[in-house]
Amino acid sequence: MATRSTLPPLPSPSAPVPGGPGRKRRVNESVSTWRLTDRIGYLFMWAAGLLLCAIGIGIVLFMALKGLQYLRPSLLVSRPQADLDQSKSGGFLDPLLGTVILTIVGIVIATPLAVASATWVVEYGRPRWLGRAVESGIEIIAGTPDIVIAVFGLVLFQQGIFGWMSFTAQGGAVFGRSFLTAGSMMSLIALPMVFASTREGLQAIPSHVREASYALGKTKAATIRRVLLPSVRANISTGAALGMGRIAGDTAIVVVLLGASLQLDPQGDVPGLKTLKGTGGTLTSYVYNNSPAGEGNAPQKAYSAAFVLLLIVIALNFAVDLVARRGSAQGIETSRLGAAK
């Protein structure tokens, strides 16, 4: 039986009286009434946010100052040459193209694999131990250092059956270094991000949406293809753009599996495929080689290339925001499904 509380009311410290009928100004909560630890925590949150903001702006400003100092349009369109005289060593057209090609190869391989595995894990995932094993496997890939992936890839792609992917010497030794082999391993860098965002998108779709499709007499395949995957389109794009940023910024795989050469070095005669089969370099390897640590030792060009790389990655991040925002504008953001609660 419910009884009324006989306890006296707890003292509430200096509770401000709610605004009377005549007052226009809204009375807000005052930090001065908080306890000390809460105030310290509040201060720390502000400080942490502002500090990271400052670091981000600092990096971009520093790279812009250094990079723009030496960046000329001619650098973007001229091919690099190996020359001690910096006025003759050219620009970084080839590394720029290398970054673009490698990113595309990597994401084209990663996205279908990631979407398919995420769909299987969420929509099927039976037997359960197998579903967990798939997720653990992807976590391991996500946690593996890129240099380990690179060395593993080199051993793998030097096997004879992968000879078509790279240059094969006369004795039959497979070189194992090309855009195809590097892109395949790069896809492992991007795959966990696409997988995670697709899985989260699918998990956010309420089960009654799936049931609504089944209740119309649809098969599971039709439900996945026509209802679930379109719902997570924005999630897939977000994951893919993040993954592309990771690929564009990776160095170890480029050095080990792409050759990190100054120029694109096609192999064979088939147009297009000869570039993919050949070695090359990217902006990251160009920056490394031209930094004081590398053999080129042209820091000015390294700064310019680094600034361009930074712009590419920032542009990809903005693309992520844009896709997410457009997704919500079209109402395909998953959280809006069945949102009339």
């Binding site: 089944y214 209740a215 007499g217 109402g331 395909i332 009339a340």
Partner: protein
Amino acid sequence: MIIEPEPMTTTGDRSDPRGAPLPPPVRRIRLDEPATIANAPVVGEGAAPGSSRMRRATLRTHGPERMTLEGLTVAYGDNTVVKGVSLTIRQGEVLALIGPSGCGKTTLLRTLNRLTELTPSARRGGIIRIDGHDIDELEVTALRRRVSMVFQQPNPFPMSIFDNVAYALREQGSKRPATRTLEPYVHEALQRAGLWEEIKDKLDHPALRLSGGQQQRLCIARALAARPEVLLMDEPCSALDPKSTQVIEDLILELREELAVVIVTHNLQQAYRVGDDVAFMYLGDLVEYGAAEQVFGAPRAERTRDYVRGAFG
């Protein structure tokens, strides 16, 4: 257990010094009282808000049988939630399932188009027939096209209004029908769901931009597009405002001419307003099943009487 307004002993300490309106009196729930029956909201003919509706004149002569349930039992693991229920679902009539939460209404409804099979632990006994055929012998997609369902939450798919309805018609075979051949069917379904006038100019707009009531009617249109024989509705109005609720109730009364409707509802007034037959379930048992007037006006079982008069639930 009865709920009664607490007598207001002192009015002085309740009134606000600035003359603001008084808060509503606290309702107290007494658990230790015997289940005495409070003054019932009379729902007999001629008194309740829904009594003005057109009841079927030929209520005693039933429509053709569409589905029959014989000894239907459903269990999730060891927990039996529907116990030996036998019912008949007829075309041209609305069957309203009522009962307190957790009594198995929704499970019963979901069993009719075999949606319970999606729950791995669910097991089913008894026979369900549609037009004389055991539903287990039909292919599940074919069954679900004949027994369609509308859910509690409006759940349009993230595509255009047109595609939402057309989805019910597409993806049935290996060949995809052209949009132009689907158009008349989509228009007809939207008209039957009473949505056509509001959205005829924006068929290509995303369905998720519609209001909640419009979304629910779109879901009904989607369910109707496949031309089902039976329409299952799982508390279709519980997420909607009163006005949208009335629109959908009117729609149900129109639809029952062409198909059999089974509706699960928590709202007794709604069950009376739209139901021709009412089935009252309690803890998995079918306690009472009969014409709405009889179940609400002269219930045979004590439990039903208590429930329809608001004594528990």
